[in-house]
């Protein structure tokens, strides 16, 4: 059971990373990644909503009638999103103001509804929980990387700390919408390259081990 949970957890971080592999829920990815601090808080909110809604929907999966499952999912997700929104407004009012409408918009985020529909409503609670945490962390890592690229190039800082030498003139375009698309494109390309290389390597090692086994079988 533990192994299956770990595999489900890892699945959301690299093989099926919601942002960089599934490319769903792109609205906050493009909008809030102007600074790393914003992306961290956005990520935390998504991890909370995703984990809680996945767990609850998995618990309720036998009671929810199939025909009205989407409205039921939305009610669950909206509840947790409201909690996240209000908590963020109380704890970090400044960040809440910057994130603005994107925290309430978690309700309609494809990642959360997608995981509810594709995973939580079909799997037992412990796996749904692992999937929620994994997908949430995968999303957070992806937007943190994107926000790091944009903040370093567009503001010359990281987490608000000045990184670049004094002579560096930040390229404002990177914290404007075009910068989001340009850096996201390169990030997706890099991710595709890495996954393709990994796939080649695993298929090669599999071939090698299977051919070794075949040889061993012959000799034995």
């Amino acid at each position: 059971m533990m192994e299956k949970m770990l595999r489900t957890f890892y699945n959301g971080i690299i093989p099926e990373n919601p942002t960089l592999r599934l490319v769903i829920g792109m609205c906050p990815v493009l909008a809030v990644t102007t600074a790393v601090v914003n992306s961290v808080w956005m990520g935390l909110a998504v991890i909370f909503v995703l984990t809680a809604s996945n767990t609850l929907i998995s618990l309720l999966r036998k009671f929810i009638p199939d025909k009205i499952r989407i409205p039921c999912f939305i009610v669950v997700i909206a509840t947790f999103t409201t909690i996240a929104d209000l908590v963020l407004a109380a704890v970090q009012p400044d960040v809440h103001k910057i994130l603005g409408v994107f925290v309430p918009l978690i309700v309609v985020n494809c990642i959360i509804l997608g995981r509810a529909e594709a995973f939580a409503s079909k799997n037992p609670v412990h796996l749904a929980l692992a999937d929620g945490v994994g997908m949430g962390i995968g999303f957070t890592l992806a937007i943190m990387v994107l926000a790091s690229i944009r903040e370093i190039l567009g503001s010359g800082s990281w987490f608000g700390i000045r990184l670049m030498p004094a002579g560096f003139e930040p390229a404002t375009v990177m914290i404007l919408p075009p910068g989001a698309f340009i850096s996201l494109g390169f990030l997706l390309g890099t991710m595709n390259l890495v996954t393709a290389r990994l796939a080649v390597r695993t298929s090669r090692s599999k071939q090698k081990s299977s051919s070794c086994a075949a040889h061993a079988g012959l000799e034995g």
């Binding site: 003139e169 390229a171 404002t172 375009v173 990177m174 404007l176 075009p178 340009i182 494109g185 390309g189």
Partner: protein
């Protein structure tokens, strides 16, 4: 099997597949022709803005060529820096910055043009917008402090507002005379100021049949007509079309950027429509938009509709009647 009698010299006869008659036009020749046509403007620019202009042009060319070589090496593609297209992009990009622009901005802009706009879409022939203009838009959004405002004045170390900004009313100053505008004795980016030098280069390209006259004619004609009708403060038909045509980057854009082979239509009718569309958007931006100049954005926007223009203006195949709906 009976042995064939050998025909003397038969084994030396090589028949390649068609085409058997080749034109002299190659990518290399066309690109170098355009670079030659830009030389008058480059010389005038160096004369008016000093050695600084030459440095920026060389930085742009060097950065573009180097980026092209590096990216193609990294992607394990054939290195095509000798065809001159990267050098042309670098030169055109340098033509788009004011003389007081920092050299590193030109270097980054040229690298962006080649690496992001051209090579990520597949290299020469596959980029969907003009690399030099897209990089100009990138620099304008990235470092507006270096790309807008007051530009250096020729033969002087002071800066002043550009003629178009004065014409638009966003800056104060006296409008330069037509003669100054024509020979290029006005403030502006490196390559745009001298209408005379650009017209010489453009005429050379049309004479050499490198570019089609339809695109620049449609572009400049539309700007002239529309600014004459709507450009005046005292009502319709009181505008100053000559000023609008000579000032700003219109002539540079119309002859050297809107005619880029990759990003302009291939049909004659399409080229005319392309030029008119560019002129229309330029006037919209110049008269009612937020920027004093709209040539670069108009060409970028029209680049995007080129595939539709090509399909729309497809010539009728001889002997085939159009199906009636």
């Amino acid at each position: 099997m009976e042995e064939k009698k050998a025909v003397p010299g038969f084994d030396k006869l090589v028949v390649a597949s068609s085409p058997h008659i080749r034109a002299v036009e190659t990518v290399d020749r066309l690109m170098w022709q355009v670079i030659i046509a830009l030389m008058p403007a480059a010389v005038v620019s160096v004369y008016f803005f000093g050695l600084r202009a030459l440095v920026l042009m060389l930085v742009g060319i060097a950065s573009a060529v180097l980026t092209e070589a590096l990216v193609e090496k990294a992607l394990k593609k054939e290195i095509t820096i000798a065809d001159g297209s990267a050098a042309l992009t670098g030169l055109l990009l340098a033509f788009n910055v004011p003389a007081n622009a920092p050299w590193w901005m030109v270097a980054v802009g040229a690298a962006f043009a080649i690496a992001v706009v051209k090579q990520t879409f597949g290299g020469l022939g596959a980029n969907f917008v003009n690399p030099a203009l897209a990089a100009r838009a990138f620099m304008l959004a990235a470092w507006p402090q270096h790309m807008t405002g007051k530009f250096p004045v020729p033969l002087d170390s002071i800066t002043a507002a550009t003629p178009l900004a004065i014409l638009k009313g966003t800056a104060t100053g006296t409008l330069p005379s037509y003669l100054d505008l024509f020979i290029g004795n006005v403030g502006g980016v490196l390559g745009e100021t001298s209408a005379l030098a650009l017209l010489v280069g453009g005429a050379y390209l049309i004479w050499q049949k490198v570019i089609d006259w339809r695109t620049p004619a449609g572009f400049i004609g539309t700007v002239a007509v529309l600014t004459w009708i709507f450009g005046g403060k005292g009502g319709l038909f009181t505008g100053d079309p000559l000023h609008h045509v000579l000032a700003g980057g219109l002539i540079l854009g119309a002859f050297f950027m809107a005619t880029d082979y990759v990003t302009s239509p291939i049909t004659p009718k399409g080229r005319l429509i392309f030029g008119i569309g560019c002129g229309f958007i330029t006037v919209l931006i110049r008269l009612w938009g937020g920027y004093p100049e709209g040539v670069s954005y108009s060409i970028l926007l029209m680049n995007l509709v080129v595939p539709f223009l090509d399909r729309w203006t497809l010539p009728r195949v001889y002997g085939v009647t159009r199906a009636r709906a």
